[in-house]
């Protein structure tokens, strides 16, 4: 799949933002007033910023409201609903904290649940796709939720939670990669099943339909060099999970916290780039590519 910057930014930032909102909804940390305002501002900047970034890849963003109509079948539509619901619930809850110094706990829990649901919906946009075997696994929502929760904990200053969640996310990440590397092979979809010609012999793409490129090749066929991928995985693991954990184990300091967050963000961005770039869409088989 084409690693579109807009989608990488969207999923990375909004995942982190909704993760932070989750912890804030639980009252962790228990902040009010200006401090609460800063926390919420960061969470909204990430969540809404991510959502806005995602509209950059739309052909017709001005029709985005239509996306609320198909919640019965479409995870994208569900994501629209849950994200708006989460943002509204958390806005009210945040207003209580910032302006009234009051914690409307039930509203916070609701907002936290909706935030997680938003991350889950986002993850299911990918996790539902049979056409991308690397994504089509319960591990996909599990991983994205774990990353969101861990990143949120990091941002929310929940050091203990972060120290537990980051390693969990790292393990899930590795599991996801290991499974993913064989996912296309294990899916049973091959050039032979794609063409129905396997009964004759080995199938090889000869001439492509057009000598130039096209939307499908641009969108779905992206080949990452194996060495390059391994390097990026090491970077993602190191920056996204290991370094933040190490930094958190050091005596607390704001600079260290900021470093941990930035490292995490960079690592997750690398992981997210790989999430797309390594994902093989089965349509590539028609072009003899994977």
């Amino acid at each position: 799949m084409h690693p579109a910057p807009s989608v990488i930014i969207f999923t990375t930032l909004s995942g982190l933002g909704f993760g932070l909102l989750f912890w804030l909804g639980l009252g962790l940390p228990p902040v009010t007033g200006w401090v609460a305002f800063v926390f919420f501002a960061i969470a909204y900047a990430l969540a809404v910023g991510g959502l806005l970034a995602s509209t950059f890849h739309l052909g017709h963003p001005e029709r985005a409201l239509k996306a609320f109509t198909q919640w019965r079948t479409s995870w994208l539509s569900r994501e629209a609903w849950t994200s708006v619901a989460a943002l509204i619930a958390m806005a009210l809850y945040g207003a209580g904290l910032v302006f009234f110094g009051t914690q409307w706990s039930v509203l916070g829990w609701l907002g936290a649940a909706l935030s997680l649901l938003t991350v889950y919906s986002t993850s299911m946009i990918y996790g539902q796709l049979k056409t991308v075997p690397r994504w089509r696994t319960p591990l996909t929502p599990t991983l994205l939720l774990a990353i969101s929760l861990a990143g949120g904990a990091l941002l929310a200053g929940q050091i203990t939670a972060a120290l537990i969640l980051l390693p969990i996310a790292a393990v899930l990440q590795v599991l996801w990669w290991v499974r993913g590397d064989n996912a296309l092979r294990d899916s049973g979809t091959t050039m032979e099943s794609a063409t129905g010609l396997g009964h004759i012999g080995r199938v090889r793409a000869f001439e492509p339909p057009h000598t130039g490129t096209n939307y499908l090749l641009r969108e779905f066929v992206h080949v990452v060099g194996r060495k390059h991928a391994i390097k990026l995985r090491v970077i993602a693991l190191g920056l996204g999970y290991a370094l933040p954990v190490l930094l958190l184990l050091l005596p607390f300091g704001h600079l260290i916290a900021v470093l941990a967050i930035l490292a995490h963000l960079a690592g997750i961005a690398a992981s997210r780039w790989l999430f797309f770039a390594e994902a093989e869409h089965v349509v590539g088989l028609y072009y003899g590519k994977r």
Binding site: L76, Q128, L129, T189, T195, P209
Partner: protein, 255 residues
């Protein structure tokens, strides 16, 4: 709407004969022409005269080389467009309801005025049947020429998809695959019509007729041991001219 209809009255679709397709791209261009001028936005082309020309096409002809365990490799031309699946994943993922499957005939369409161009339907399609038009920002796909097949402004014989009407080799057939008595269903039954990527569970309506067995002559031994299997056909009447003239004379007598 993105819910699929429980059932459709007809299952209109194409049957593509891989034994006959010569790979001429007639269907590709005829489709491009009709759908540039008709249904929805034109199929645009970027860098049309430039270094990297790339346009929207709703039908493309691939070609594959298949190497049997024994014998010569075969080349198979492989046209591919929307298969109008019964369980069309492209429809259910659509957030706006722009993608839908018609109740009356099962055609999968995009209502372009509702399309936000998110591309998710193309992600969900295993066949690469959908292309986002770079100029218009909406998803384009085969309409099975819904604006031809019922069009009362066309003579009845022309109420066919443009690709079927133009196919010089007659490798494309159009009809109701939900009706077991239809010509297309008969063809599928006789020739072992197949689904593409059946494991994806999309239940494609369009079927492909596999190539007939090829190069059987390479598998007949002209002489099986001592016995000449061609003997009845190539039994020598003469090995040299003189004998031949003698045979000729006798053979002419019999005429």
């Amino acid at each position: 709407m993105t819910q699929l209809p429980e059932r459709t009255e007809k299952k209109l679709g194409l049957v593509i004969d891989l034994d006959t397709c010569v790979g001429c791209h007639a269907c590709v261009v005829s489709c491009k022409g009709w759908n540039t001028e008709n249904y929805g936005a034109p199929l645009s082309d970027q860098s049309p005269y430039g270094a990297d020309p790339s346009g929207t096409f709703l039908n493309r002809v691939h070609s594959y080389e298949v190497q049997p365990d024994q014998g010569a490799a075969q080349l198979i031309h492989f046209p591919k467009s929307c298969l109008h699946c019964e369980d069309a994943p492209c429809v259910t993922v659509c957030p706006t309801g722009a993608s839908y499957k018609r109740t009356e005939d099962g055609i999968v369409l995009v209502n372009e005025t509702d399309c936000i161009g998110c591309g998710l339907c193309a992600w969900a399609c295993p066949y690469g049947a959908r292309e986002l038009d770079a100029a218009e920002g909406v998803m384009k796909k085969c309409t099975l020429c819904v604006d031809r097949i019922y069009n009362e402004n066309l003579p009845e014989e022309d109420r066919l998809p443009a690709c079927v009407r133009t196919c010089p080799a007659g490798a494309r057939h159009f009809g109701d695959l939900g009706d077991p008595g239809s010509e297309v269903s008969q063809l599928v039954a006789e020739r072992g019509g197949m689904d593409l990527m059946p494991e994806q569970g999309t239940k494609p309506v369009n079927k492909y007729l596999p190539p007939r067995p090829k190069d059987e002559m390479d598998h007949i031994p002209a002489t099986a041991g001592e016995i000449d299997v061609l003997a009845p056909l190539l039994k020598p009447v003469a090995e040299e001219p003189k004998g031949f003239i003698g045979w000729l004379d006798k053979a002419l007598e019999k005429l």
